[in-house]
């Protein structure tokens, strides 16, 4: 029988829990960990680098699953700023809303937010995938370098400002695009990508209802005639 290790943050200090996840879980052959009474604690399950199924009950504070590698983490609640920041691999699923900078600088893995995500979702993204079931706030995908962001709802202002090679798929309205971001036609590869990511996130929207936003690449090189309109 698969054992589930239980922690209650009302009783056990976070430092001990994280240390267990980093150092002991793999050695003990534990594959599933459940963390109760998250109660807004910061940095829950940050820095995990082994394959574990981690469930967090309650709302998580800042940086839940920060720098995650290999673990699959589910937050049964909302997540504070920087959920999944700089994650490398694995999956983080927020069954609720996410605050600012969700998935900031993520290099890999998949971040799913079933509700809305606030400002700067996917900022400086470096290769991870993000699927947001609801809306995203302004300046989402700011300077995103690589990876994909699927937005099932609306986007705020300055979507994709100063994008590099990351691609955004958005289903709802976009209040405004950021500097150097532009709408581009969807190709079959784009429809397939959206379908694949929606499937992984457990969402059933029709990929045909999404638009593609990517970089016009006009900021890639200095240009004295560009008049610095950004």
């Amino acid at each position: 029988m698969e054992s589930v290790k239980l922690f209650d943050l009302a009783k056990t200090p976070l430092r001990e829990v994280n240390r267990y996840l980093h150092r002991d879980a793999a050695g003990e052959g534990v594959a599933r960990v459940k963390i109760l009474n998250a109660d807004g604690a910061h940095s829950i399950a940050a820095g995990v680098h082994v394959p574990l199924e981690i469930e967090i009950d309650g709302h998580a504070g800042y940086y839940a699953g920060g720098m995650n590698m290999l673990a699959n983490i589910t937050v049964h609640g909302n997540a504070g700023p920087g959920v999944g920041e700089n994650m490398m691999s694995g999956t983080i699923r927020v069954e609720g809303f996410a605050s600012t900078a969700a998935g900031a600088s993520a290099h890999g893995g998949l971040l799913v937010i079933t509700g809305d995500a606030a400002l700067r979702c996917g900022i400086s993204l470096k290769g991870g995938d993000i699927v947001v079931g609801g809306d995203v706030g302004s300046f989402s995908a700011f300077m995103a370098q690589a990876g994909r962001i699927v937005i099932c709802g609306d986007a705020g202002d300055a979507l994709g400002d100063s994008l590099y090679e990351a691609v955004i798929y958005v289903r709802g309205k976009v209040r405004s695009l950021g500097a150097d971001a532009r709408f581009e036609p969807m190709t079959d590869a784009d429809y397939a990508a959206v379908g694949e990511l929606l499937g992984k996130a457990g969402l059933t929207h029709d990929p045909k209802t999404f638009q593609r936003v990517a970089s016009a690449k006009s900021l890639y090189h200095w240009n004295s005639d560009a008049n610095q309109e950004y």
Partner: protein, 457 residues
């Protein structure tokens, strides 16, 4: 007697407001429509450690035997929260400089030299290379706004983490690496298209102010199981506020980088007009630490224009625990030298400087990636001009020299430990330096701009 009637006589009165330098600037701007970008640090004259002198021991103080008695240079950083503080044999460390700005060979040379003298070296914007990790016994890993190449495995294999808020050459600005230096390896490490003019973010992506920084530092502590010291580096501007906020946020070590600090590529207007001199910054940083009663708990590293053992000794006497050196380290490797070594022979690099429109002694063209001596380049031919073993030897010599100068001065002031140097050992030679450092003008009891109490800070 000049012949004022001579029609051949040249009028040569140069305007101080519109001298040749300014005319050149205006005409360059009108020709290009872009600001100048360059490397290294502020070139203008500034009050500096050169404006201070030590009061050696005499009748009222007892000196140490200069060549016989021991003088400790051991330095420990990160004693506040980290369970594994950094122990160095010298207070002279190597400042953060990126792979990208520097070649992998140079990073390797820095690591080898740092290891040889028992000090630390530091990564930069763009991640950790295997060359520098393997060659550096003690490696500080920077966490920058761009997070280029920032990886949890590297966090775990670092010896300390340095959160970079700003840098002395450009407080408030992000990194910059022009396309000619973004070769395929640099591009891959930074997840950028090769050849792009990379302009990094100036703000961190996942926190915005001091209250968030508390939480960010805690996250890094959680990730590293509270083992590794967390440094916070600020460019010197509102130093007193920034140092207090960084201490409040939980930093183990504060790095304050004055405006003389270098850069690989930044707008000249930024380098010369933003930030305060290192001399003024040290004094404010130490005041902030003292006002929070954190002396001995939080350590201070000072950087920006540290060149000599005297600079190190003065920084320590003013209250720093260590210094970090960037530009001078590059110069030790050959930056601005007229030649480079190939097969043990000096080969002139003068023509290559000329191709950049400059000459040895004046070059600040790090941003071009065409470094004539193979230091600040990613070019496969030019980078061969710096041989890691030779570079490491030169840098080891330089760091040893500084350490010897430092202990010479400390012994002269009667100290068995360089960390015992104190403000009371110093006076200032200029009114400006006296006011900035809050020290008396030499030969007087006058502390301009302060409250008149010597040694208050």
């Amino acid at each position: 007697m000049p012949d004022f009637e001579n029609p051949e006589r040249l009028q040569r009165e140069e305007s101080s407001g519109y001298d040749r330098r300014v005319i050149d600037y205006i005409q360059r701007a009108s020709a290009t429509g872009l600001y100048e970008i360059r490397g290294l640090g502020a070139k203008r004259p500034l009050p500096s450690f050169d404006d201070l002198v030590f009061l050696g021991a005499s009748l009222s103080r007892y000196p140490l035997e200069g060549y016989r008695e021991k003088c400790s240079t051991k330095t420990v950083l990160g004693t506040r929260f980290a369970t594994k503080p950094i122990e160095l044999a010298t207070p002279i460390t190597i400042a953060g400089m990126s792979f990208g700005a520097l070649s992998a060979r140079v990073k390797e040379a820095l690591g080898r030299a740092a290891t040889a003298v028992g000090t630390s070296t530091t990564t930069g914007d763009g991640g950790m290379t295997s060359e520098e990790r393997e060659s550096s016994k003690i490696l500080v890993y920077q966490c920058l706004p761009s997070r280029y190449g920032f990886k949890p495995d590297d966090v775990r294999r670092a010896d300390a983490i340095e959160i970079v808020i700003g840098q002395g050459a450009k407080p408030g600005g992000g990194g910059m690496l022009l396309g000619q230096k973004v070769n395929p390896r640099v591009a891959a490490m930074r997840t950028l298209p090769a050849g792009v003019d990379q302009r990094s973010a100036s703000r961190h992506p996942d926190w915005t102010g001091p209250d968030d920084l508390v939480i960010k530092i805690n996250e890094l502590r959680e990730i590293t199981d509270w083992e590794k010291p967390i440094y916070v580096k600020v460019g010197a501007t509102r130093v007193k506020h920034d140092v207090k906020l960084a201490i409040h946020a939980g930093a183990d070590v504060i790095v304050v980088d004055g405006m003389q600090g270098g850069t690989a590529a930044t707008q000249t207007v930024f380098i010369e007009h933003v930030g305060i001199p290192t001399l003024a910054a040290v004094r404010q940083a130490v005041e902030a630490i003292d006002e929070l009663d954190m002396r001995g708990k939080v350590q201070l590293i000072v950087s920006g224009g540290i060149r000599t053992g005297a600079d190190v000794a003065k920084a320590l006497a003013l209250g720093a625990d260590a210094v970090a050196i960037g530009q001078a380290v590059l110069m030790a490797l050959g930056c601005n030298s007229d030649s480079y070594l190939a097969g043990g022979q000096h080969v002139s690099a003068v023509e290559d400087y000329a191709r950049l429109g400059t000459a040895p002694g004046f070059c600040h063209h790090c941003h071009t990636g065409r470094c004539p001596v193979g230091v600040t380049t990613q070019d496969p031919v030019l980078e061969q001009r710096l041989e890691p073993a030779t570079g490491a030897k030169r840098l080891t010599n330089y760091l040893k020299t500084l350490n010897m100068e430092l202990t010479t001065l400390a012994r002269a002031c009667g100290k068995q430990d360089v960390h015992h140097l104190e403000r009371e050992d110093l006076v200032a030679l200029t009114v400006e330096a006296a006011a900035m450092a809050n020290l008396p003008l030499a030969g007087t009891n006058w502390v301009p701009g302060g409250d008149g109490e010597r040694g208050k800070t």
